[in-house]
Symmetry: C2
Subunit: 425 residues, 2 copies
């Protein structure tokens, strides 16, 4: 027995994990709502009970991350502590309380010939996820997938591999304890790049793949996958101010949208101000931003109205800063603002501050983004704010789901037809 | 000027067609329901008026097809005559009368802070279609896409290229006559393989791609596309007969499902009969099939009950005959039937004939197909039968749409948020 590892790798190829997930998905799909809630409670308790083990795994990741020179920001995203582990467990319990989308009847009617047609929500089957540093995604996605009756195959960032190994082991044991097939939670992390590839190419075994992370990660997944993908994309988010915008709304909304949590996809990145409104609005809004530590990239007119403006380049209009920076541009007309948004928006969220109802309705109709707002902060594009109770991600694609995704977005549908001998004439 | 063709190709690359479709999609998206109906009426009249030109183009395709040795069946699919052209125009007029899905409010609520949230149907933008021989698909898909407010980029089969060139020209002129941007209907046929490639790789310009045709075509599109695809797949459709199946229902439904139109995806291909029911049901059902000219591939038990049975191989269980052939297998239990379906079904439609409600409900719950039936012919899986008024195709994927697709499946959604200065706390 000199080659046990080689034998193991042969027997347990990444594709086998997909097969096992698919097999398990059949029993998971048939679980009742309370079975699923019980499974999640078991996972939550197990996470709490395994806190020390989880933190020990995480400490190894942090240590390796430091040795490999990861930035402090990345180390922070990677780090778990007792409170964060307890937060993970609470999040799982919250998911357990969400209404079960499975079995919901979303349509149907009796056909003229008497066949009763019912359109019902069913699980996808196997949900794949490819993501980066934060180990909490491992638990979040698994809990959401299970709540919606799916098995899940996870591929986390290599920076979090020790943390994820422990988290997945804890969840699988918890499922076993609850009498539920542990094969419903799989990882392909141990196969490195081959694992990701198997997941992306797992047609017939993986029903949907959700990438979460950088634009580069998402681009890779979209390009290499033969499995259907839901893009959860970047947010080059715009706010437009016109000459009817109340000064306080403009200032408060822009500051909130930029500063309240600058590192997330629904934070504003570019401010477009109608020329007529610029002299009144820009100095006030810019000074409010600057007093919050926001660096301003602006065009010539902005530079003429505000001090300490960094000249904006084309790169700034396309930038997702994800930090305390903003680009400000003066435009001549609403048309020019709409054209700028068409060119640079990633289709996530845009908002206009105006009291002119014609401009408001035109903006709502013509901006082709997942969420289009009037007189509200772009930070409201969020599953919890939308009342979904949990968020799988924010889809910037147009297929299947657009905008904040709740549990229902992790389901498919099927048609049930109950007849009494009908044939087609 | 010795190289005009080269210059033309450079200026008018396939990608330019996508750009023009995307540009046009913006005005098409803003058309009212009656504008769109008017555009379709203009197309219908133009098709009627251009009947001779269309038939002349079609005659060239038929001639070339014969010279290239196309089968009679393919020639028949390719062929247009005056009646079929008139049928094309009628189909366009029918699409014009369908309720407009755009602007439909499918959800929404007032957020606790007062923001009014509305979830509305919007056009995809640009719908791509890659399909094979039948030129009527060119008109059908364009009409459906336009009705739902989309621009369309078409890539038809090379066998129908003269017919499609004329049809597209007629539709574009009709749009111009109706005062609507003709760039909303594009073809990439003239670029051959490069055209298909541009369409499949047109991320950011093509919002969804619908392949219609053979399993090989669909496989290619799924594999090569970076644009989201809706698979309209093959149908290896099963009917299960158990020991409680009324003899007449079993016979009538199986014969109808096989014989009424054998060349389509919702025709049954495999019959699974519970062993206990086999002696009673198989002779009657098989003889009814044989009297309709259906060849029977069967296992040993079937061969013992019926004459002229061709021994079935594994290939038969996976076969989509699309003709007057059927595979019949005897299974010991419902579990074995479900396992066989899991292995060989393409997830299109399956039906069980039974009066045992436990078996019926188990079948409905456990079969993972777009449409699952009890006591009804699989031929009912159809957009018109389901009351959609038109059919884009039958999706066998789980993302976005599953089963027969109507106009609403050619739309996306967006969220509109109307506030009065709200910021996030």
């Amino acid at each position: 027995m000199t080659t046990p590892l080689v034998v193991d790798t042969t027997v347990d190829a990444p594709h086998d994990r997909l097969v096992r997930a698919k097999d398990a998905s059949r029993s998971i799909a048939q679980l009742t709502s309370s079975d699923k809630a019980r499974a999640l409670e078991s996972i939550a308790s197990a996470l709490e009970g395994a806190s020390e083990r989880i933190l020990a795994g995480n400490a190894l990741d942090i240590e390796r991350g430091r040795a490999e020179g990861l930035s402090d920001a990345l180390i922070d995203r990677l780090r778990l502590d007792a409170q964060r582990v307890s937060g993970l467990a609470s999040a799982v319990r919250e998911v357990a309380t969400l209404p079960d989308p499975i079995g919901q009847v979303i349509g149907g009617h009796r056909m003229p010939n008497g066949i009763a047609l019912e359109h019902v929500r069913v699980p996808f089957g196997v949900v794949g996820a490819i993501y980066e540093a934060r180990p909490n995604v491992t638990v979040d996605i698994a809990a959401l997938a299970l709540r919606a009756g799916n098995a899940v195959v996870l591929r986390g960032g290599s920076a979090a591999r020790e943390s994820n190994t422990v988290l997945i082991d804890v969840m699988r044991r918890a499922l076993t304890d609850a009498g539920i097939d542990p094969e419903a939670v799989q990882t392909v992390d141990d196969f490195g790049r081959d694992g990701a590839k198997a997941l992306m190419q797992g047609r017939g075994f993986v029903d949907v793949l959700v990438p979460r992370g950088s634009a580069a990660l998402i681009e890779t997944v979209v390009t290499e996958s033969t499995v259907p993908v839901i893009e959860t994309g970047a947010g080059v988010v715009h706010i437009v101010l016109d000459e009817t915008a109340p000064l306080e709304w403009a200032r408060d909304i822009v500051v909130n949208a930029k500063v309240q949590r600058p590192s997330v996809c629904n934070a504003v990145e570019t401010l477009l101000v109608l020329r007529q409104a610029a002299p009144q609005l820009i100095p006030v809004v810019a000074s409010a931003l600057q007093s919050e530590g926001v660096a301003i990239h602006g065009d010539d007119m902005v530079a003429g109205l505000v001090s300490n403006v960094i000249p904006a380049t084309d790169d700034d209009w396309a930038a997702e800063y994800l930090g305390l920076e903003i680009a400000i541009k003066v435009v001549d007309t609403l048309d020019e603002a709409l054209e700028h948004i068409r060119r640079y928006s990633t289709g996530h969220t845009e908002s206009i501050i105006t009291t002119d109802s014609r401009s408001a309705e035109r903006f709502l109709a013509e901006v082709d983004s997942a969420v289009v707002m009037v007189n509200a902060s772009t930070r409201f594009t969020d599953g919890a704010e939308f009342g979904f109770g949990a968020e799988v991600g924010i889809s910037t694609q147009k297929l299947h789901s657009r905008g904040p995704m709740g549990l229902a977005e992790l389901t498919s549908t099927k048609w049930l037809a109950r007849g009494s001998g009908q044939t087609r004439g």
